[in-house]
């Protein structure tokens, strides 16, 4: 009964989504306010029914209802409760349902928070969001229904894929989808503005908090995925330039560009058509990612089971949504002109190059990801593109981006004043170079020329991000959330830069055969293989090793890597053991039993790798602080008053 209720709820949600899309897009033209006024009810109803559908699927998982095909395929009676719930998005069908639910949550948030915006504009925004919802609901009901029954029911389920039985991966999809789908808000705002043929600075102000919040979730989602890959996939790396990782990274880069170009459009009314294009592209790339992951066109570790029918459906949807938006763009964008000017030393100029470089970085990844497909399609034979291509190619636009960032943060709007900027720029640069040289040559044994450069850039960004807030506080000025959030996010980026640079240049690793009782030396550390013992988990049995790590004769960590065998899927799993500290991770993982009490072990010392996740976390926090800035939420009239007051307050101090 419960799965049928869920199925029925999805159908009702589809009908309401149709109402929302129809009323939203056609209502404002009809001139009859009742259509527009009905939209919030459709939004609310759709939320209730998608939530009900989610609830039904969760209930089926919790109650071990193995007559539901999706439940039988992705859980088992021995699976702990937490993973039975997260199994909901463990495979294609359920993750689509999650996608739809998240879209519904964003739509509700937009409906509530944007009541003060013009009614026709809001109707169109909700209409576009409704259209997206229709597409995904149709897709789910037609090709990927999670509520299908098995007849006869099976006695027990096939279990959740063991790699997904992990905390980070349980929360990674909701985070990532909240980010992906959140970009649909900026997309809908852009489409609505184009339909209305009107785009002013206030439009940018409305769009900014939504974009920034979506970006924060996307940041968290990507970081969680990378963290998971690091300790669970166990190769010891954290980014593999896999097509699926790239598919999530491209919208991130483009939405980062969008955040910055929105700032210019908000402040100066510039870059309007460019901002629109970025808003379209950001969400389009997340849709494209969905296509790449679920259609089987690319070879990837993370991809869902491939199904060409699904591929055709998503492709048609892409053509409709992205093609429609870009056609609208080709029609309306030429109308948007701005006569505002700026000087080369101005903030606008730096943000212009920020955008160009970020888009190039995204384009480089796009090119590398699609190249194998292009080569195949042109009959040119197989081609692989891996880290050896992506690493240097990505650095090419990103190094100048990081270098410009520190200078750009001090630049004023419109003209900028070189003389005033010189002192903080040169001061921070000198300090950063000195610190970098001291740290790199003092603390690390590294082999890459780029290491002192990357560390210096990171420190420079962090110092530069501190200059403005400290200066404001010293002068007794207020520190608005927008500025605070920006500084925090840039400090996060600085930590990320330092972390990636150091871990890439100064990691020590060794794959080796070690006998019980003997040890292996790695840099300043001694890894001693003490013993192995058998043990059992809730749904697996394991062999656990004990590896003691010594540093200067003292015990630095005791590691317990495991080789697990999950009972249901009978699969071997390698659980690496990691001792994490702020300045280094010690890593040990078991390979094969080589006989004679000897095992092959993978041992690593990874300096500063925690900076990578910590930096991403801080970036996310910065985004949230900035996205929740009150100034974005004040209605238009009140905002103008406040701006004048703010300018008056800032004036005399300047």
């Amino acid at each position: 009964m419960i799965p049928e209720i869920g199925h029925f709820a999805l159908i009702l949600a589809l009908l309401l989504a149709l109402v929302q899309a129809g009323f939203g897009l056609l209502g404002p033209r009809s001139g009859q306010p009742r259509y527009v006024e009905a939209i919030p009810f459709a939004v609310a109803g759709q939320f209730v029914f998608t939530a009900l559908a989610m609830g039904c699927l969760v209930t089926s998982f919790v109650q071990y209802d193995f007559s539901v095909k999706y439940v039988a395929e992705n859980s088992n009676s021995a699976l702990p409760l937490f993973y039975r719930i997260s199994a909901l998005w463990g495979a294609h069908e359920g993750s689509l349902l999650l996608w739809i639910f998240v879209l519904s949550v964003w739509t509700v948030a937009v409906t509530i928070k944007s009541r003060s915006l013009p009614q026709s504009f809001m109707a169109r925004v909700l209409g576009i969001l409704g259209l997206l919802s229709v597409g995904f609901l149709l897709f789910t009901l037609a090709t990927s229904n999670p509520f299908l029954r098995l007849d006869p029911a099976v006695p027990d389920g096939r279990d959740l894929n063991p790699v997904l039985q992990d905390f980070a991966l349980a929360i990674h999809p909701p985070m990532l989808y909240t980010g992906y789908v959140g970009l649909s808000v900026a997309f809908a705002f852009a489409c609505a503005a184009m339909i209305e043929g009107k785009l002013d600075q206030t439009w940018a102000r409305w769009t900014r908090p939504w974009t920034t919040l979506a970006w924060s979730f996307l940041t968290a989602g990507i970081a969680l995925g990378s963290w998971w890959a690091y300790y669970e996939l166990g190769w010891g790396g954290f980014w593999f330039w896999d097509p699926v990782e790239n598919a999530s990274f491209m919208p991130w880069l483009v939405s980062t560009a969008l955040i910055h170009s929105l700032a210019v459009t908000d402040k100066r009314g510039l870059f309007k058509s460019w901002t629109l294009l970025l808003a379209i592209c950001g969400f389009s790339l997340s849709l494209l990612g969905t296509f790449l992951v679920r259609s089987g066109v690319l070879v990837s570790v993370h991809s869902f089971a491939a199904d060409p029918t699904r591929g055709i459906f998503i492709l048609a949807f892409l053509v409709l949504v992205i093609g429609g938006a870009l056609a609208l763009y080709a029609w309306r964008a030429p109308l948007l002109k701005s006569q505002a000017g700026f000087e080369i030393t101005s903030r606008e100029s730096f943000l212009l190059f920020n955008n160009i470089l970020l888009v190039i970085a995204a384009a480089v990844i796009f090119g590398g990801t699609m190249a194998p497909m292009v080569s195949d399609a042109l009959g040119q034979g197989a081609l692989s593109v891996g880290p050896q291509y992506f690493n240097p190619s990505f650095l090419l636009p990103v190094l100048p981006l990081l270098a410009l960032l520190s200078v750009g943060m001090h630049a004023g709007w419109k003209r900028g004043n070189l003389a005033r900027v010189r002192r903080p720029v040169l001061g921070t640069l000198a300090l950063a170079v000195a610190l970098s040289v001291a740290v790199c040559f003092g603390a690390y044994d590294f082999d890459a020329v780029l290491m002192p450069v990357g560390v210096a850039l990171g420190i420079w960004i962090a110092l530069s991000a501190l200059v403005d807030p400290i200066d404001r506080l010293r002068r007794g000025l207020s520190l608005p959330a927008g500025i605070l959030g920006m500084s925090v996010a840039h400090i996060g980026l600085a930590l990320l830069t330092i972390g990636i640079t150091v871990v890439q240049s100064a990691t020590k690793e060794l794959d080796t055969a070690v006998a019980i009782g003997s040890s292996a030396k790695l840099g300043a550390y001694q890894f001693r293989f003490d013993s192995t013992k058998a043990m059992e988990g809730p749904n697996y049995s394991a062999l656990q090793a004990q590896v003691t790590v010594l540093h200067g004769g003292k015990v630095a960590a005791v590691l317990a890597p495991q080789k697990r065998s999950y009972w249901v899927q009978q699969s071997p799993m390698t659980e690496a053991a990691i001792s994490a500290r702020w300045d280094r991770d010690l890593f040990a993982a078991m390979g094969e039993d080589l006989g004679n009490k000897t095992w092959s072990l993978r041992l690593q010392v990874r300096p500063l790798i925690q900076f990578v996740w910590f930096g991403a976390l801080i970036m996310m926090i910065g985004g949230i602080i900035s996205g929740l800035d009150r100034r974005y939420r004040v209605p238009k009239e009140a905002r103008d008053v406040e701006l004048v007051a703010g300018a008056a307050a800032a004036g005399p101090a300047a």
Partner: protein, 146 residues
């Protein structure tokens, strides 16, 4: 499905499970050979677990391909000869780092070309905006960065 492909249990090993190889062979005596060995094994794509390098893949064929690399290095073959030998059997698919050729030229040049194009476009926008500056009466609060 037109072709019933490959032996499923082996594929499943890499497709869904986090088992990976730990290369148990002792480092080569010559450190420069060991360096080249690590570089090459991280460049070669495992033909079975197609998203892993042969250095990381848990399947037997990856171990055998590593053995092939090791023996070729000891036999005095150059890196390019070893790559060529692999390509002649498994096609360019096996190289994670595409070799420079007419076919891959655009791929390798793309980042540089895009950077160049970006600089030119940026420069043109900038000079247009500088010209507009004279006729732009708008005032901005220079202090507030966001």
């Amino acid at each position: 499905m037109r072709r019933l492909r490959a032996c499923l249990p082996v594929l499943a090993l890499c497709a869904s499970f986090a088992a990976w190889a730990v290369d148990p062979s002792p480092p080569m005596a010559d450190p420069s050979l060991q360096e080249r060995y690590l570089t090459l094994t991280h460049e070669l794509r495992c033909v079975q677990c197609q998203n892993e390098t042969i250095a990381d893949s848990p399947v037997e064929i990856a171990a055998q391909l590593r053995r092939e690399v090791r023996e070729s290095l000891l036999a005095g073959k150059s890196d390019d000869e070893i790559r060529e030998a692999m390509v002649s059997r498994y096609s360019e698919f096996i190289l994670f780092k595409p070799r420079w050729s007419a076919r891959t030229a655009l791929l390798w040049l793309a980042p540089g070309l895009m950077l160049l194009a970006g600089l030119i476009i940026g420069w043109r926008v900038l000079s247009r905006r500088q010209q507009l500056l004279a006729s732009d009466p708008s005032t901005v609060d220079e202090e507030t960065p966001v």
